[in-house]
């Protein structure tokens, strides 16, 4: 479960001065649900997810991930999440297996458990063919599978995805979408950000529209449609953003 309460983040930029990337954001994601954070580029999605992943610290407010506070227990939070974003690249000089092994070990898995997990994940994601190939020799689809395997190896209860299908071809994007559904089916808490409305429509049980660092609306897709009187999510989004 993820609980976010009045989360704010201010960056100090030498050129632009103080930039408020997040402004009092609150929402809640339940286990067994996919929670979508929808917004245009620069809306504050990545900042929000980076705070949940304890990569950034909030300026104010709090968030609780899998029962741990992101400020006071960052290492415990990271031990319970799988974080995937366009900015989380792979070590090009390591093989697919070495990469997943490395992160498994960093999560404290024993060698026996690690071997078993890797065998299972590599079979499920159909990765055995390129298991011993270096990451810099893999296609973008293969790389994304390795990244997914990395987030899965310690079987975390919470998954955080920042634009996970960004820049991927249709087939690889389908693999990612299938993987997110699988996590939900296993009762995990999944939060993901996107600016692709169709993706959110297909996947999300609950949606929060974020714009200029603020949550404009939150609820199920049906509730948002009722609130705006629009059917298409694109229209729902535009109406909510324009209302501000």
């Amino acid at each position: 479960m993820i609980q976010v309460l009045q989360l704010s983040k201010v960056f100090r930029d030498p050129k632009r001065g103080e930039v408020r990337a997040l402004d009092g954001v609150s929402f809640c994601c339940q286990p067994g649900q996919v929670f979508g954070l929808l917004g245009v580029n620069g809306a504050g999605k990545t900042t929000c997810l980076r705070i949940l992943g304890t990569i950034l610290q909030p300026s104010s407010g709090t968030a609780n991930v899998a029962g741990f506070d992101v400020v006071r227990q960052p290492e415990r939070v990271r031990a319970n999440i799988g974080f995937l974003s366009t900015a989380t690249a792979l070590y090009g000089r390591l093989t697919a297996q070495e990469t997943v092994e490395y992160f498994g070990r960093l999560h404290g898995l024993t060698e026996d458990v690690l071997r078993e997990r890797i065998d299972g994940i590599f079979s499920t994601l159909d990765m055995n063919e390129f298991r011993q190939r270096r990451c810099d020799q893999l296609s973008s689809g293969m790389k994304q599978k390795v990244s997914i395997a990395r987030t899965l190896v310690h079987d975390p209860p919470v998954m955080i995805f920042d634009e996970p299908t960004h820049g991927l071809d249709v087939l690889t994007a389908r693999t990612v979408v299938g993987f997110i559904r699988d996590r939900r089916a296993r009762g995990k808490t999944v939060i993901f950000s996107t600016h692709v409305m169709r993706e959110a429509e297909k996947l999300c049980d609950a949606i929060a529209i974020i714009h200029n660092g603020r949550i404009m609306a939150e609820g199920t897709l049906t509730a948002l449609r009722e609130r705006t009187g629009a059917q298409d999510l694109d229209d729902v989004f535009v109406k909510l953003v324009e209302a501000t």
Partner: protein, 402 residues
């Protein structure tokens, strides 16, 4: 315990990653393995051969004047170590163009002045800084010094004065240091400089690759997602940079030793009548010198890591590290400077202290109080640099600088 385990995991992974990088291999292994033999064997042997050849060559020397001093002129012509060429008014240009190595001007009435006791000045013309020219001047200088001594003795004898009148006592210098220590003193001047240089060279590439390189490749955020404490990530990375620095230093030492051994075996050090190279060195001194360098290597590793972390790109990191290399090499030169002695103030200046103490250790002098002071102070500097690296690694504004 989990902290140590995590540091070990990060260390092993970063080491494997670095060893698969061609550029790290070149800076860590290829450069020290090839640069030292090239420097020692190539340049050293070449210099020795050139000097030996220059010494074997009979230099062409011009005698200016002296027509009224047939005795001196005949004695000069009798020298087998020089070839006297006909005099020319253009002797300055001929020396500059290296057609003549040196010229000697015998003053008018020189033989007569020797008899009468009138003071005369013999001028020798050379091309300053040119070794062959100085080799040409040497036999002439020696000839006139001997002539001066002989004339002096004759004059003393003529007045019934003993020769010891002008030389009341002799000065004799006796070496008490074993040959290895003598060599250590000579080699010891240059070894600290080379070791400090190689220690830094070995650390540069991995320190940049593991920090700014990670930022550039986008793997930094991946690593930050792991549950390992930031401090342990820095320690693991720092150990890899330290390993690279020490391996480079050790390989440099080994290849230097092998080069010396080879030079000695081939007899290049004393070949051709040239000067013998100081080739013996005490291995235990070398081991102590290496141990003294350990905290300095850690200091370099942590400093470079902090700089790498601060940088946005590898290019930016290299632009910061190149001046650092120059700034570090300058104090490292301290060991090469004559008359610079280790004292309690210099013992606190990073790099200078290690440079000077290494020189002392290699020449067989162990000032244990200074060694302890240097070891301790450098450990403190390394600790401060490590704290700076950890501080950098915990700052969002540094990790996500754009």
């Amino acid at each position: 315990m989990s902290g140590l385990r995590n540091i070990g995991i990060v260390y092993r992974k970063e080491l494997l990653d670095s060893l698969r990088d061609r550029r790290t291999i070149i800076s860590m292994i290829v450069v020290p393995m090839l640069a030292m033999p090239a420097l020692m064997l190539g340049m050293g042997t070449l210099a020795i051969k050139l000097v030996a050849r220059a010494q074997q060559e009979i230099p062409k020397v011009m005698v200016l004047g002296g027509e009224d001093s047939p005795k001196t002129l005949a004695a000069l012509h009798g020298l087998k170590t020089i070839e006297i060429v006909p005099a020319s008014l253009d002797y300055t240009n001929l020396i500059s163009e290296k057609k003549v190595r040196a010229a000697v001007e015998v003053p008018s009435g020189f033989d007569a002045a020797l008899q009468s006791g009138e003071k005369q000045t013999v001028r020798i013309y050379v091309y300053g800084g040119e070794i062959k020219s100085s080799f040409g001047a040497q036999p002439i200088e020696q000839f006139f010094r001997q002539l001066s001594d002989a004339t002096l003795n004759e004059r003393l004898a003529a007045h019934n004065f003993p020769a010891r009148l002008l030389r009341p006592f002799e000065i004799q210098r006796t070496n008490v240091a074993p040959p290895a220590k003598v060599s250590g003193n000579l080699i010891g001047s240059i070894i600290p400089y080379l070791l400090i240089l190689m220690c830094m060279t070995g650390a540069i590439y991995p320190s940049v690759d593991l920090t700014a390189g990670e930022k550039e490749r986008g793997t930094m955020e991946t690593l930050l997602c792991s549950p390992v404490a930031r401090t342990h990530l820095v320690y693991g990375k720092c150990l890899v940079v330290l390993t690279a620095a020490l391996v480079t230093t050790l390989l440099s030492l080994s290849s230097m030793g092998a080069s010396f051994a080879l030079v000695k075996r081939l007899g290049l050090g004393s070949g051709g009548g040239g000067p013998a190279l100081p080739l013996a060195i005490d291995l235990s001194s070398l081991a102590v010198a290496f141990a003294t360098m350990l905290p300095m290597a850690l200091f370099f590793a942590a400093t470079m890591l902090a700089i790498g972390l601060f940088s946005r790109t590898t290019k930016e990191a290299h632009s910061y590290l190149q001046p650092l290399l120059i700034v570090t090499v300058m104090p490292a030169v301290a060991s090469l400077l004559p008359g610079v002695e280790l004292n309690s103030r210099l013992a606190l200046i990073p790099v200078v202290n290690v440079s000077l103490v290494t020189k002392e250790i290699l020449s067989g002098t162990y000032h244990w109080s200074y060694i302890a002071l240097i070891f301790g102070s450098t450990c403190v500097y390394a600790g401060v640099a490590m704290a700076a690296a950890v501080w950098m690694f915990k700052r969002e504004s540094v990790l996500f600088r754009t």
